[in-house]
């Protein structure tokens, strides 16, 4: 059997809905850990409400947040997968089907940037990016709906031969600028180096990484740890009303580049929306998350 349009369609229409109704397990575990160590009483109560909301959404099959964001998919194609499908149009068809059938209906968040007109559809929606996974015999699709609440606080700057001090100061200042605004505690994805577009992509990939998985290189893992401690010392806390828990993780990716070094920072709000399906070469759809 071969992966065909209908398999991509099936996976896509469910993925978005899953992401809206369930907070990932790593995120719930991180919120629970934070509740144990948090010293601010209001913050502990807020973390408790977050966990309660996550469980309520899951058990009643409801949306965690009213803002479903816009559809964002990352497609990772295994180079050994057996496929013959128009992936892009199948994903679009899957999303169209979801908009028409999802219960309860979604709010209209897709915005034309030139006219500010809002609806369910728009140019280049859903937003899809593609990658290859060497040797894999499946196609993996990640759905990561993105909304204004945390989306608008992402930032990027281009430096020339920056020191680590310059880079870390910038990352801390982006956290200060986001302050109380982005439904903390967040996952902070950071990209360093590469080129303008590649750096932003690395930051995005950082937000998708499982909480508690440090970067494999010790030097980067140490940087993640000290920035995690640094941002949490700022005191914004859950929902920005004070506390020790402002980030659940700082996830850094880097790439070599030229002397100009872009640094990009992106945030996922505390519900950390993310769902993953793997479509095997025999057409079987596996829900990974």
């Amino acid at each position: 059997m071969t992966i065909r349009d209908e398999h991509i369609f099936e996976a896509t229409k469910d993925l978005y809905s899953w992401a809206l109704r369930r907070v990932p397990d790593d995120t719930k575990a991180a919120l629970s850990r934070a509740r144990e160590t948090e010293t601010n009483e209001t913050a502990r109560k807020t973390l408790n409400m977050m966990l309660h909301s996550a469980m309520a959404a899951e058990s009643a099959d409801r949306y965690v947040c009213s803002d479903a964001g816009v559809p964002v998919y990352v497609v990772r194609i295994g180079t050994k997968a057996d496929w013959n499908a128009n992936i892009k149009s199948a994903i679009r068809a899957g999303f169209e089907h979801l908009v028409e059938t999802i219960d309860p209906p979604l709010l209209k968040h897709v915005t034309n940037p030139l006219t500010l007109e809002r609806g369910y559809h728009g140019k280049d929606m859903p937003i899809i990016t593609y990658d290859l996974i060497e040797d894999a015999d499946y196609i993996e699709i990640v759905c990561s709906p993105k909304a204004l609440g945390s989306g608008r606080w992402a930032a990027m700057e281009l430096f020339t031969f920056p020191t680590l001090e310059t880079i870390e100061t910038y990352i801390l200042d982006v956290a200060i600028k986001a302050g109380s605004q982005h439904c903390p505690p967040t996952v902070m994805g950071v990209g360093i180096g590469g080129t303008f577009d590649y750096c932003a992509k690395m930051a995005k990939e950082g937000t998708l990484r499982e909480i508690g998985q440090p970067h494999p290189e010790p030097m980067v893992a140490a940087m993640e740890k000290r920035l995690y401690d640094a941002v949490n010392q700022l005191g914004y806390g859950p929902m920005g009303t004070g506390g020790d828990t402002t980030v659940l993780g700082v996830h850094i990716n880097y790439a070599a580049g030229h002397g100009f070094t872009p640094v990009a920072v992106e945030f996922n709000c505390w519900i950390n929306r993310r769902s993953i399906a793997r479509i095997h070469s025999d057409g079987r759809i596996e829900r990974v998350e």
């Binding site: 949306y63 965690v64 009213s66 709010l107 609440g149 302050g179 109380s180 920035l227």
Partner: protein
């Protein structure tokens, strides 16, 4: 936890302290739309009544999905939106109507806090991503106005019971948790950067 019955008087909210958590029961008005705020300001400027009475009301930045059925409108879910998007528009609305309770998520700026201090109103922080909890407080829909707008931009009056818990983030004297926390973070910045430098040096 204290439950406040709406409509609340100035005295009802005067002693609320920053960080207190409360629930609300009674009528509230919600919208998540900037165009809606512009229409409210147009009403103020042209001496027209708003389609839903806002005088001393509880007015929140909440987005809701409302749909028309045979029996009128129903609300399927609601959740807060970022209030700071309305920073430029809120002082006038707060002062004109003497809003008693406002809220959403992310807070409002210093000018809005000043306006709240003048009229004796409070800002309440809702849980973002709290749709299941927040929506369960809805008892009935009183009115839906400006229904030519998309769902979450409409002006909607609801009856709620034990809505919350909500965190008092700007009090009736105009003190703001957001300002306090921003100032504290700014003051800590230099020390945190020194700590980062020490940690970098220790690993190199």
């Amino acid at each position: 936890m204290r439950n406040i019955t709406l409509p609340a008087t100035r005295a009802d909210v005067a002693d609320l302290k920053l960080g207190d958590m409360v629930t609300l029961s009674g009528p509230i008005v919600v919208t998540a739309g900037i165009p809606t705020h512009h229409r409210i300001i147009d009403c103020i400027e042209n001496g027209k009544p708003t389609p839903i009475e806002l005088e001393e009301s509880a007015f929140f930045h909440l987005g809701s999905y409302s749909r028309e059925t045979e029996n009128g409108f129903e609300i399927l879910y609601m959740n807060p939106t970022t209030s700071t998007r309305f920073n430029d528009l809120m002082p006038r609305i707060i002062r004109h109507f003497g809003l008693r309770c406002i809220g959403g998520k992310g807070g409002l700026d210093a000018e809005c806090a000043r306006a709240l201090g003048e009229v004796g109103g409070v800002y309440l922080s809702f849980l973002g991503g709290g749709a299941p909890i927040i929506s369960s407080a809805i008892r009935r829909i009183r009115q839906v106005a400006w229904d030519d707008l998309i769902s979450h931009y409409r002006l909607v009056e609801l009856e709620v019971e034990a809505l919350g818990p909500l965190t008092v983030a700007i009090d009736a004297q105009g003190r703001s948790l957001y300002q306090d926390i921003d100032e504290t973070a700014a003051a800590k910045r230099a020390g945190i950067l020194e700590q980062l430098a020490r940690q970098r040096a220790a690993t190199q």
